[in-house]
Amino acid sequence: MTGLEIVFLVIAALTISAALMVVTTRYLVHAALWLILALFGVAATFVLLNATFLAVVQVVVYIGAIAVLMIFAIMLTRKVMRDSGPQMNPRWGWAALVGVALFAALAFVFTRSPAAGMTASDLVAGADPVVELGQALVSPNAYVLPFEVASVLLLAAMIGAIYVAWKK
């Protein structure tokens, strides 16, 4: 076992246990803090894959924006402290089934993808991955349409939020 594999196992264990704590802890704010740790673990996994851009964006977007917004929303609600209700609802079996099916589908896709047998250093061989990503996002042969559609969607969401919050 190489040093990199040990580091990966530690990070993976940390991420999964943090994710478990998110759904099992009874304090909402603690759940949000554990979620931050889980998201940070994902960012660390991206670093191990030499995907620095994705790692940094993961931290900026998921920790800096989404998690902070969630904590903000939780603190403005009443159930800041302990939640004493039952943690499972009667249909947990179906949820577990969907979860397992999703995991199986993702695992199937990943093992079939051309990147499955490659090591981290092979993945970024060649040009600067940030430049390639940037060009792919605006190239008409690649992802320009999804990119622009996502921008329009975000704009619509913003206008909707302003409309909802507007003083009538």
Binding site: F53, V60, G64, I71
Partner: protein, 399 residues
């Protein structure tokens, strides 16, 4: 000879390899030691900075500043340190203990992590990341999380209010800050800080003065010092998110704030003032460190000067200034810089011609902004609020 740090690092590596250690292990040890030294130097800088800041504050406010302990009061920070080390670290009743004690550690880590990507000179940089600019924004996110943790876990209304204010401020000022950071990235066509420094044969403060100004303002808000210190406004919410901290736990917030302030100076120097560049810095990298520190101090001095001159702004002013003024302005600057950059590039204009065209563009945008502000301002009437007169003191009602 001109590059002692690389020389020491090479000597150390060959020494460890000579002892028969594996090459991977040697790299790990070297990087770990480098990180320890970098963090220690950053922390020790703060000791000097506390004296500099207090002395500056004193002179700018027409008083001597610390002048009792040692020559020119130089030993004052040492005395302060001893005092703060010996104080008890209190935990408030019903506080969330683990979160409470973790918050200052994460806060100071978020500031120390900035120094990883700052190039001290051409050859001395912690990690030459290709996404360094975005990385700086990312580690700032941990600071926001730490403030929220501190404010919530203290079990104190004032701390929670301070945390809310802090997060509102840090999250909103991040928007124009990131957009302003995109201008040097655009000009250097790289997100690596060393590449940005190398691209500054003409300093970016000349090419993009508006972006530099907006970065200065927004990063002052990120640090949360006056005039943006409403997150710890003494007269309103005691001390904001660190109300309940005492002893070294408070000391860590204090040190992190100073270090963040200094780091903003370093980023300003690196992104806009040419970083370590200067006469002879390429052949003598050790000179680069000197230039870098001088430029960092210039940025640091400007921020301190503003902080000691301006009064605190209100929370509505803080938000309106960000969303109605800075964000639209920086969007205009970014779009026009990108267009002009492309136009000049296709016409083959480089060097000083390029810089002067960009400077003219910035001047035009600045002039237009002033004109628009002048047009808007007279039409906005301030609402006059009249309160019924009330006596200063009233006798308690007799039962």
């Amino acid at each position: 000879m001109g590059d002692p740090i690389t020389l020491i690092s090479q000597w150390f590596t060959s020494l460890l390899l000579g002892w028969g250690l594996a090459e991977g292990l040697v790299t790990v040890i070297r990087l770990f030691l480098g990180a320890v030294i970098l963090a220690t130097i950053s922390m020790l800088t703060v000791v000097a900075l506390i004296w500099v800041e207090r002395k500056l504050a004193g002179r700018l406010q027409d008083r001597p500043g610390p002048n009792r302990a040692g020559p020119f009061g130089l030993l004052q920070p040492i005395a302060d340190m001893i005092k703060i080390f010996t104080k008890e670290v209190l935990t408030p009743a019903h506080a969330d203990k683990v979160t409470f004690h973790m918050a200052p550690v994460i806060f100071i880590a978020s500031v120390l992590l900035i120094w990883v990507v700052v190039p001290f000179t051409g050859t001395v940089v912690g990690a030459n990341l290709n996404v360094a600019v975005l990385y700086i924004v990312a580690v700032g996110a941990f600071g926001v999380v730490a403030v929220l943790m501190a404010g919530w876990s203290s079990n104190n209304k004032f701390a929670l209010l301070g945390a809310f204010r802090a997060v509102a401020q840090m999250v909103s000022y991040e928007v124009p800050m990131v957009l302003a950071l995109m201008v040097p990235v655009l000009l250097a066509s790289s997100m690596g800080l060393n590449d940005i420094v190398n691209a500054q044969s003409i300093w970016f403060v000349v090419v993009a003065p508006l972006a530099a100004l907006i970065f200065l303002i927004t990063s002052m808000a990120e640090v949360g010092r006056a005039p943006f210190d409403l997150l710890e406004a003494e007269s309103e919410i005691v001390a904001g998110y660190h109300t309940e901290y005492s002893g070294m736990a408070f000391g860590m917030f204090y040190v992190a704030e100073f270090l963040h302030h200094w780091a903003v100076g370093a980023l300003l120097a690196t992104l806009f003032l040419g970083g370590w560049r200067g006469p002879g810095a390429e052949t003598w990298p050790v000179l680069g460190i000197l230039y870098f520190y001088i430029k960092t101090f210039i940025g640091y001095f400007i921020i301190t000067w503003i902080r000691l001159t301006l009064p605190r702004i209100r929370i509505d002013q803080m938000l309106a200034f960000n969303w109605k003024f800075l964000t639209p302005l920086v969007l205009v600057v970014l779009i026009f810089t990108a267009i002009l950059d492309k136009v000049l590039e296709t016409n083959g204009v480089g060097g000083w011609g390029y810089a002067l065209a960009m400077l003219a563009l910035n001047a035009a945008i600045g002039w237009a902004t002033v004109l628009i502000l002048k047009k808007i301002e007279p039409s906005r009437q301030r609402q006059r609020v009249e309160f019924p007169p009330r006596p200063v003191a009233m006798a308690p009602k007799s039962e």
